[in-house]
Amino acid sequence: MPRKQVRLEHSVEYLSVMDKRGRVDEKLAPKIDNERLLEMHRTMLLSRRLDEQMLILQRQGRIGTFAPAIGQEGCQVGAMAALSRRDWFVPAFRETSAMLWRGFEPTNLLLYNAGYNEGGAIPEDSHDLPIAIPVASQLPYAVGLAYGTDYRDTDEIVITFFGDGATSEGDFHEAMNFASVFKTPIVFLCQNNHWAISMPRRRQSESKTLAQKALAYGMPALQIDGNDVFAVYAAVEEAAERARAGKGPMMIEAITYRMSVHTTADDPGKYRDEEEVEKWQEWDPILRLQKYLKAKKHLTDQQIDELEEEIAKQVNEAWEKADKQMQELDDPSVIFDHLYEQLPEYLKAQRQAFEQRLKHGG
C-alpha cells in the first residue's frame, strides 16, 4: 500500500555481556574494579541468604508476609553499584538486594517484615525512599524527585524499580510521560521477572518487549539480560550518564526471573511449572557471577565457603538483634507517631485515651 512509513526516533536493542557460564564479552563489559565486584557479590549472597532465612522465619510465624528477591539479586545490585550514594533510590517492594547495597540494615528489614513500623525508618541523610507497595505507584513521585534534583542543579539522578506487572498500571504511563516531557534525570528499571503473582509476562501485555513501551514517550530504552550483573551495570551506567548530562530519562527492561514465591502468602504451585523454575536455575545471577569470579581467580571455593559462614552469622545476629528489639519495642502508642509534624488536638486526645487505657492494663 502506498502509505507513507513514519520514521520513529528510537528502537529497542538487547544487551548481554556475560553468558550462562560466566564468560564475559570484554568489549561490552563495564569497568568495575575487583573490590567493588566482590562487594557486589557479597551483597547478592547476603540478600539470598537473608531471604532464605526469612522464608524460614515466616513459616515459623516469627515474621509476616514478604516478597523475596531471590533470583533478582544481580539485577538489583548491578544497578545500584553503577550509581553514586547521592543518587536517589526509589524501590517498589521486592528490592531487598538493592536496599542492602545501599546500606539498609538487615535488622531493620526483619523488624519491618515482623510488622514493626520502626523497621521502615529511613536515616536522615539517606537518599533512599521507603518500600512502596501499591504497584507502580512509586513511579510518579520518583519523577517528582528527579525534577527536584534537576531544579536544585545537583548532579544527582534517580533510579526507580518496578516489575513487569507494573507496566500495566496507569501510574507507569503517566510517570513515563512526565519524565520525558520534563526531561527529568531518572532511570526506569523494569525488572521483568516473568510473573506478576500468577500472571505470566506474556499475558500482561501483547507487546513483544516491555522496553518498547518507552517508544510511546519518545524515550530511549534498552532490553538487557537482568541476571547478568555486567549488563545491568553497563546499562544503568549508560542511562545514568545520559540523565546526568541533562539528556533525560531512559527505560531499561531487565529480563530476570522470580525464582521463589511472589510473597510468602503465595503458592506458585497453583500456576507455574517447576520445570520453568529449574530452567532458570541455570541463569542464577549469583552462580553466574561466581563462575566469572572463580575463572578470573578473584574468588575461590574456599573463600565462598568462608563468606557463606560469615553471612550466616550476620543474618543470625541480625535476627537476634531484631528479636531483641521487638521485645523492647513495647510501647504501642507509637501508632500515633509521624502522622503529622505535630499531632493535632483531636489526635492528641485519642492518643491520651489510648495511653490511659494502656496504663490501666486495658
Partner: protein, 326 residues
Amino acid sequence: MANLNMADALNLALMQEMEKDGDVIVFGEDVGVDGGVFRITDGLLDRFGERRVIDTPVAETAIAGFAIGMAAYGLKPVGEMQFTGFSYQGFHQMESHAARLRWRSRGRYPISMVLRMPYGAGVHALEHHSESREVYYAHTPGLKMVIPSTPRNARALLVSAIRDPDPVIFFEPKAIYRAFREEVPEEEETLPIGQSRTARQGSDLTMISYGAMLHRTLEAAERLADEDGAEAEVIDLLSLSPLDHERFTQSARNTGRVVIVHEAHRSYGPAGEIMARLIEESFYYLEAPIRRVTGFDTIVPMFAREQDYLPDVERILEATRAAMND
C-alpha cells in the same frame, strides 16, 4: 446444608450464580488460575472457562472500567479488587461512571455490576492491606455498598448484589473469611440490599456494628449480659448504602442508649452518619450521649500493632458501660 466458612460461602454464591446466569462474568488480578489471593474464586476458571473467568493485567482503573462497560452492554460483571487499598486506583471510574451512567443516560444504561474487595485489619498483612474506608464508597451517590458479617449472609448478599440492577461495592471482611463456619443452605438465598438485621436482642442498650467488628461487638454484648446483667440489642447493618436506619433508630427509641462500633477511622467515619440519623429520628429518646468505638485517626499501623488500632472487646465494653451508667 453445608457448614461453610465465609470464603467458601462466597465461592458458593459465585459458582451458583455463574451456573444459573451465563451473563455473570468474573475477573480481576489472579482470580483465574490462582483462584484469587484469598481463594474466593477458586475453581471458577475450571468450571466456566477463560471467557467468563478472566485474569487481568495489574490495572485497577481498567478493571473497574471493564466492569462498567460490560454492565452497559448488559452483562453482569463481578470484578475483584485484590484489596480495598488498591481500589483507589480505579476509584474515579466508579465515581464518574459506575455511579452515574444510568443517571447520565436517563435510564438507558443501568450499571448492574459488583466490585468485590476484601477490607479490614487483623490478618497480619502488609501496608495498604488493612484499611476500612467504606466511607469513600458509601458517600458516593449512585453506588450501593454492603458488608456481610457471616458465611450465610455473605453468600446471600453476594447473590443479591449480583442480581441488583445498580452498582454494588461489596466489602468482604477478610479477617473473618475463615474465622468460623455456619450452616449455609444449598438452595439459593438472597438478602435484600439496604436491610439491616438484629443480631442479638436486648432492651437495655443498642449496639450498632457490621463486618468483622460485629463479632467483637457481640462478644462485648455477651460479656455485658454475663458481668453486668444488661441486655444489649445488637444491630448488624449489612448495608452502609442505602443505610437502613429504621431498625437502629427504632431500637434506640426503646433503649435510649447507643454504642456504635467500627474499625474505620473515627473522623468522618460511618459512625457520624449513624449518629446523625439517630439524632434526626430518635433524639428525644436518647438518655445518654451516643458512643462510638472506632479505629483511630491514624494510618493503620503495620501488623505488630494492628490490634492496638482495632477496637477490642475491652474498649467496646468500656464505652458500653459508660453509656449504661450515664
